[in-house]
Symmetry: C3
Subunit: 204 residues, 3 copies
């Protein structure tokens, strides 16, 4: 229930910021919807395909498609309002990131998979929407250059999985994982913390 | 039967124009085949993966792979002939677009899914081949900037689904949907009709 | 057994060279792991998704994820050592290419599929990791422009499938296919043999 509310906030926020990014590339309205959907529900779709977890979330709940499309259309009507809320969106994106990670981790855990796959599932859910969004816009995926973005998904998945191993109630574990992941992400933005970059033979 | 003939015309036309596009990027022959296959049967493959509709069309009917490869190879032998048929290909592409949309819509409808997913399935089938083709060529997918392209797929899927709700014979419904979608697409090209573009903060 | 050893060598080599390529695009460490994983196990994942062959290899054997990540991390520690081993990596990449092709061909053959799909499966397994790696790095996939790369995967798959039709022992058939494919690939590099390029209307 807690996760569901956060999930809907998360896909709405990702859909809106996806629409804003599409606006930079002058897509038509249908393109904007497509990019918003990729950003919001693409990560979960890739996870479900890789882990054979059918039906996909939005096939079972097509209302999520409508929510994301409505959020994207709203964004095209008042883009400057949305763009001015930049800080709010950083917070919502952080919430979405850690929520998606916990949901992904839980799906792998519920399939009886071990820590490597639980973390993989959490990270894919959390970051692959952004990867698809960027690829469809024709730009290099940004998520692997952003300050501690995928790293937060890893830590959040680990916290959730660790608490589940300790036989915590899963609802409580998800709340603790979301809150701690969120704090880590906000601190990472605040202090501009980042994972070391590997640069070798890079063209300037 | 009607759809099958149009489907084969559609994948042949998409394969040929995919090969022409690959030619612009100086691929080797195997790259050309790959791009042609992505353009012709990529959309249906993505749809089948998302909707858990196995086996994929070309796994059940590998002869489609051969048809597309033959069409692509023919294109590499007589590219200037094919390229001069530009108007014919606009027509064939329009036919393919609406045929793919109806096939996609029918697959979702036959799974008992509602209008949102029927349209989603129709659009994905119709446009995702072009999206994959462009991504594999390293260019930004054009389909979201083209005059009323994905929009035609939406309308065609809606017409087909509406007629099926009215309990029309599905064969008749598919003919009506293909013909009306085709007319809409040709009119859209003729009058250069397009979906509004959303441009916000675009770099010139 | 023979294939398993080669497979592990193959994913290690692809993971290392994937990490080196990621280094050219200044990714953070998590991005490097992601690119390495896409390069090493992406081709098999795409094959398994297309052919409905679940669970994916790395879901059944998460230790492969650890192997690839370890190889990629090692590469970031001693990139100049790895880069200086260029010729060794050409050899290992050739081994990986033909091993992946035989594994892919066998999976389709074991599903009772015919020659077209066996070759398709072999080629996808062998080259799609490189395609994904390049797309995630934001560059045009190189595999379709490289001297006789995908072509070697086709020939290797055909040799393996032909021997299986002759009712050779599958272990022996795979050894013969790997060895002959490897020799073809090395000769192709040596003599700079390539598939004809199709260039039409190319922008310079």
């Amino acid at each position: 229930m807690f996760l569901l509310v956060l999930y809907i906030i998360g896909i709405t926020a990702e859909g809106m910021s996806g629409a804003l990014i599409a606006g930079r590339y002058k897509m038509d309205l249908i393109g904007v919807l497509f990019i918003a959907l990729a950003a919001a529900i693409g990560g979960g779709s890739v996870r479900d395909i890789l882990f054979n977890h059918y039906p996909l979330t939005w096939v079972a709940h097509p209302e999520y498609i409508i929510i994301v499309c409505a959020a994207a259309l709203l964004t095209t009507l008042i883009p400057s309002v949305i763009a001015r809320l930049e800080k709010l969106f950083l917070v919502l994106d952080a919430l979405g990131l850690v929520t998606f990670a916990v949901i992904g981790a839980e799906i792998a855990r519920a399939q009886g998979l071990g820590v490597v796959l639980v973390v993989t599932s959490g990270v894919i859910t959390a970051v692959f929407g952004g990867v698809l969004r960027d690829i469809f816009c024709g730009i290099v995926p940004l998520v692997f250059r952003k300050e501690f973005y995928a790293g937060v998904a890893i830590l959040t998945s680990l916290i959730y999985y660790g608490l589940s191993l300790l036989e915590w109630d899963l609802e409580v574990a998800s709340i603790v994982a979301v809150v701690s992941g969120f704090i880590i992400r906000i601190l990472a933005i605040w202090y501009n913390f980042s994972v070391p970059v590997f640069s070798y033979g890079a063209k300037e």
